[in-house]
């Protein structure tokens, strides 16, 4: 299970340095360099795949969430109950179990439908499956976030729009979505950060993203600590960079609204 120790030396400090280096004593920089002898390029490709999945899943989750929130608020009794079951079940079951279940069930279902319609079975790309699975999970959470945000819109704004005779689609586009955005952004930002971290779970079903890339690189070079710390730094940079962007977006969505800080 454990890799063999570095070249024998009695000094604990030297052992610590050896632990960060593989037995061949190549430099950390060489290991992490982006050109092929180093594994930095592999990690960056993994990071790119992680970001792709997170973006796709968040977009799908937002679509499901908006539809789900509308269904929960304005839908008939059956739609409301079904959506309540959807959000409750998805939020009560571990993401790892849902990912396995949806991954197998989703690909199986599509192939069965295809064979029933007389087409060939297809191999569903890991990217599409990952986006679908994580988007389905994200949809349940964003349904609740967006529902709460729509409820926070002052009632008069929506009533006024109805009084002007706006059709529902125009009302959604011009009033509901922009007005709910400042209330929804903190929750949605949290969901985006969760999505970036949940992509790591796809490593368990064998999708090549940052965590799996790290595992492969670490397994080949035996420099476990180096690669896991490097991947952690990449994830952390992604989170911190996202926070920066989110702050900007929130300021933009809140434009014209009185600041909460000044009210205190």
């Amino acid at each position: 299970m454990y890799p063999p120790g570095g070249p024998g030396s009695s000094n604990p400090g030297a052992k610590l340095i050896d632990a960060f280096l593989p037995a061949s004593a190549a430099g950390i920089m060489e290991l992490l360099s982006p050109v092929p002898p180093g594994w930095g390029g592999t990690l960056l490709v993994g990071l790119l795949h992680s970001i792709e999945i997170a973006v796709g899943a968040t977009c799908l989750g937002l679509l499901i969430g908006t539809g789900g929130a509308y269904g929960k608020l304005y839908g008939g009794p059956v739609v409301r109950d079904l959506l309540a079951v959807y959000t409750t079940v998805v939020r009560a079951v571990p993401e790892l179990v849902l990912i396995l279940l949806l991954y197998y069930a989703g690909t199986d279902l599509i192939n069965q439908v295809l064979t029933a319609m007389g087409y060939q079975r297809v191999d569903i790309s890991g990217l599409a499956a990952g986006i679908f699975v994580l988007g389905f999970v994200q949809g349940a959470y964003s349904t609740e976030v967006i529902r709460g945000a729509i409820l926070s819109i002052p009632q008069g704004q929506i009533e006024a729009a109805r009084a002007y005779g706006m059709p529902p689609s125009l009302l959604l586009r011009r009033i509901t979505l922009p007005a709910m955005l400042p209330f929804a952004i903190p929750g949605l930002a949290n969901l985006w950060l969760i999505a970036t971290k949940d992509t790591a779970l796809l490593a368990v079903v064998g999708f090549f993203e940052l965590t799996l890339a790290t595992r492969q690189a670490a397994g080949v070079t035996k420099a476990y600590l180096t690669f896991y710390v490097a991947a952690g730094a990449l994830y952390l940079m992604l989170s911190l960079f996202s926070n920066l962007i989110i702050g900007r977006v929130e300021a933009w969505a809140r434009r014209g609204m009185p600041s909460v800080k000044e009210a205190r």
Partner: protein, 269 residues
């Protein structure tokens, strides 16, 4: 009399909840469950149920230990960020940011594969009493889950400590309480009440994180279901049962916490 009124009230509420469309939906759900029970293969259950119970027990055990230890760690983390000097606040903030900014799976693998590959190189560790534990997987799982819970809950406790009204602490000081007594009698209890609703959510999130320890070869209920899948080549049955088990545990947890929350005075601050 009062008892009758309660019964009638309950019946009235039930009849309000049990609208016709709900009856139909419940019947459809029952049909699906019965269909799954009859048309799917469950003959592997007698062979594995004992293993499954042990797995559930182990998962609950890990959950309880990591939540308790994590909360104990979260209190100083929150306190340092809310009212500590810079030299305490800064490391606590960095710790919380790192834990919250990286995936738990990565932290788990970092500890297990990274630290785990580091330890065997030191003879004095291999000779010490810790070695029999350090060779196993579960200490790394418990450590990773504890640190993760502490990181998220530390952030919550920071807000809870900062949210206790200043007047309460000033009044306590005016009474001549020592700093430790203020913390024990006033600051911590009020912060805890504030944090309790989020604590429910954090505990459920922690429960949903426990299956990750199966990836480092701890045999919990998730690992048992993977074993069933490998042994019997069934895909859906073990996973569906697993989802059902987790839903039941979540339901019990939420119910238990709601009972605890109901015991706590609502009006604070």
């Amino acid at each position: 009399m009062a008892n009758e009124a309660v019964v009638i009230n309950a019946v009235a509420r039930a009849s309000l909840w049990l609208q016709p469309h709900r009856v139909v939906l419940i019947l459809i759900a029952l049909g699906l469950v019965l269909g799954a029970a009859f048309f799917m293969r469950w003959d592997w259950l007698p062979q594995y149920w004992e293993m499954g119970l042990i797995g559930i027990w182990r998962g609950l055990w890990i959950l309880a230990v990591t939540c308790t230890l994590g909360f104990l760690l979260a209190v100083p983390l929150g306190l340092a960020q809310a009212g500590g000097p810079f030299w305490f606040a800064m490391p606590a903030k960095v710790f919380c940011t790192i834990i919250r900014g990286t995936p738990l799976l990565l932290q788990l693998w970092l500890l297990y594969y990274g630290l785990g590959s580091l330890f065997p190189q030191y003879p004095w560790i291999r000779d010490s009493w810790m070695w029999p534990y350090l060779r196993q997987a579960w200490p790394y799982g418990v450590l990773a889950l504890t640190l993760s819970f502490a990181g998220y809950e530390g952030e919550v406790m920071r807000g809870a400590f900062a949210g206790v009204p200043k007047g309460q602490l000033e009044a306590a000081r005016a009474f001549g309480m020592s700093r430790w007594k203020i913390f024990r009698r006033i600051w911590l209890p009020q912060a805890f009440y504030r944090a309790l609703p989020t604590l429910t959510g954090e505990t459920v999130l922690q429960l949903k994180s426990t299956p990750l320890v199966a990836t480092i070869s701890v045999i919990d209920i998730f690992a048992v279901s993977s074993k069933v899948r490998q042994d019997t080549y069934l895909t859906y049955e073990p996973l569906l049962l697993l989802a059902l088990i987790y839903m039941a545990i979540t339901g019990i947890l939420v119910f238990a916490f709601s009972r605890i929350e109901a015991r706590i005075p609502v009006k604070i601050g």
